[in-house]
Amino acid sequence: MLDIAPAPVTAPPRARQRRRRRRRWSGLLYLAPALLLYTLFTVLPALHTAYLSFFNWDGVTLPSFAGLGNYRSVVADPELRAAAEHAGTLILFFSVLPIALGLVCAAIVARRRRRGLAVIRAVVFLPQVLPLVAVGIIWRWVYAEQGTVNQVLQAVGLGRWAQAWLGSFDWALVAVGVVGTWVVSGLCMVLFLSGTQRIDGEIYEASRVDGAGPVREFLSITVPLLRPEIAVALSITVIAALSSFDLVYITTGGGPGTTTVVPGILIYRLAFGGGAVGLASALAVVLTLVIFAVVLVITRLSRERP
């Protein structure tokens, strides 16, 4: 395919040609280590997972070919539908809320440059640096019967609301979602802050001369001009919401009942506990395809119109 590329109209001198050719190939050589690692540890395992999804396999004995049987089970599973709904709810907490918060903060900071921006950025970004397992354990304490949340509620006279939040059928999913918001908001904020620094300050000044207030500025300048950053933030956070596992696993393990079960938890249970590696693989493939589709839609929608 590469060989039929059109030949240059005027052949360059031989020496230059050779040099250019070498440069082209040396480029690929630079890429090789990363490409090799990526192929070995990402592409091949992913293909292997897809391959396994066509078998009934308990992980030990000989597998038997299942065709599309595992995929039929995935579609028919009522527990999976509930898990998908929970993941959908988590998008609200992992994407919508953090992006809204991030935008408002970025707008406030962008209106007037303040000192100590680097400190604010570092503090806000901190949750992103912590391992999610540590985050989960910390929030388990925060939500516990005698935890921070309940202590605060009692202190302000709302003691009758105090409860073990992660054990509540009504609140567990919200509680997990709030942890997600806490983790992801910093990332969004930092993304948007760097985005606002790209926006020419004169645009704000011009709009102020035209009599625009802070709200008008936010809607007409900050949000439209941050569009590329919003697209990136949306992609990253939606992926985090749909593929969430560690946070849920550490805080509730899917409970109480099945109120916080997400697809990641189901895959883990099927593969490592339930001895259904094929079904788990099929579920993983479906989840990956769904995430691909969602991200594709986000990229399409956010592309700037010419």
Partner: protein, 455 residues
């Protein structure tokens, strides 16, 4: 995703270096694929149940090295290995310790490898190795050594040829240290409330709960965030469900059911304890470990848990820590309680089955009992455990009585299906949260059972 500027890779001719690079990549890929001998590694020796080699109780006298894989974070396994080696210096052990979670996830693959460990700690799920012929059928050694009279709880490691039914078929290992459940209580509070311990029946225990509740105390400390309510539930099953029915269900016998009057009574008891406030309404938000910690700090009056909690409870409550075996339905009933053990099994691929079997036999000996006890477990040879005072003394008395009554019954979540642990946690959370009736609760458990055993 982001459109990269398109640069033609080779406008003129064939680049030698490109071919070299591609063939290099291809070779690397081929090596990787060849590296895993098959894309779906699995054992094909299905259905093989023959014991390996002739059975002998003689310990080989030539130098032998045995690899031991385990997830025992106490001093027991290392202590037993050292003691065995002191007795038979020609036997060397290579111990591979792995943390519990990782061990659970990896041991089946480890045992399917070309050179698996000779001896491994048995964990739930390893019965899947039985149909693959990867575990040594120990029936021959059991007869030769007389294990049935040396070890309690052997039915928990006895499997049918397809590995799906526990308690019937062939023996695949022995328990080293055992655990069993009972009732801890806070002596100081019990005295203040005027409770006469031990409770002789479940009704008596419940009356004590009522008294504690009336005095403003939390009667029973439970944490069900990760399913810890299963401890009281398993104990109540031991009391109310006939042992044969309990084992048929826990061991996955075909046609077994948990929708029985005994199990209903157990579930109704749990439900009543929650409704009456004997168990905290926040039970679903507290982890099992946190519940033990809270009880050890002085919260509540009673806690139903296993002997693994004794160290923490004893350390926290000191002389106020008390213990009695689970009370039964009537005062004169034999002891029935729930328990499990650290079991050792042997790989079918071992080259020194006789030495491995000798170690398994040693585990049940009087020499091993003090080592097992020191690590906090109950020893198979209960009467050889060193006598102790205080909380551990009460535990030892309870254990000896349990072995005498042959009252050790399996946790229902460990044996019946690979997913039962998650299902039981889910179902108990719904029962405690008032989201499931007793009927729905039992139906949830039975649905998981039927799904697995009808395959």
């Amino acid at each position: 995703m982001s459109p990269l500027p398109r640069t033609p890779l080779s406008p003129i001719g064939r680049g030698f270096s490109r071919r070299a690079l591609l063939s290099g990549l291809a070779a690397a890929g081929a090596v990787t694929v060849a590296g895993c001998s098959s894309l779906t590694p699995g054992s094909s020796a299905a259905g093989s149940t023959a014991s390996a080699g002739p059975v002998s109780t003689a310990v080989p006298s030539d130098p032998v090295t045995l690899t031991v894989a385990d997830a025992d974070d106490t001093t027991m396994t290392q202590g037993l290995l050292d003691a065995f080696r002191a007795k038979y210096p020609n036997v060397t052990f290579k111990r591979q310790y792995t943390g519990w979670d990782d061990y659970l996830k990896s041991i089946n693959l480890t045992m399917s490898a070309a050179t698996p460990p000779d001896i491994a700690q048995f964990t739930p799920g390893m019965q899947n190795l039985v149909p693959g012929g990867l575990l040594l059928n120990a029936d021959g050694y059991a007869t030769a050594y007389g294990w049935s009279s040396k070890f309690p709880g052997l039915d928990q490691i006895t499997f049918s040829p397809d590995g799906k039914t526990v308690g019937t078929g062939s023996l695949y290992g022995v328990p080293g240290g055992l655990s069993f459940e009972g009732v801890y209580y806070n002596k100081q509070k019990a005295a203040r409330l005027g409770l006469t311990t031990p409770a002789k029946t479940v009704d008596e225990l419940e009356a004590m709960f009522a008294k504690a509740k009336a005095a403003g105390e939390l009667p029973l400390v439970v944490g069900n965030l990760d399913g810890g309510l299963n401890h009281p539930f398993n104990e109540l099953l031991s009391v109310f469900l006939a042992p044969a029915d309990r084992e048929a269900w826990a061991f996955g016998h075909s046609g077994a059911s948990i929708v029985l009057p005994g199990a209903r009574t157990a579930a109704e008891t749990i439900q009543r304890w929650v409704t009456k406030g004997y168990i905290s309404s926040n039970v679903n938000g507290i982890s099992d470990n946190d519940a033990t910690a809270a009880f050890a700090k002085g919260q509540g009056v009673f806690r139903i848990s296993g002997n693994w909690a004794a160290a923490a409870v004893g350390k926290g409550l000191g002389d106020n820590a008390g213990y009695f075996t689970m009370p039964q339905a009537t005062a004169d009933a034999k002891i029935h309680t729930t328990g499990a053990g650290v079991y050792y099994c042997v790989s079918a691929k071992t080259k020194s089955a006789a030495a491995a079997a000798a170690f398994l036999d040693f585990v049940g000996s009087a020499d091993a009992a003090p080592l097992t006890a020191k690590a906090g477990f109950m020893a198979p040879k209960a009467d050889a455990m060193p006598s102790q005072a205080g909380l551990f003394g009460s535990l030892l008395t309870g254990w000896q009585a349990t072995v005498r009554d042959q009252g050790l019954e399996p946790f229902i979540q460990n044996a019946s299906t690979p997913t039962m642990s998650d299902t039981l946690t889910n179902a108990l959370q719904q029962l405690a949260g008032g989201k499931a009736t007793v009927d729905q609760f039992l139906a949830l458990l039975q649905a998981d059972f039927d799904k697995y055993h009808q395959q």
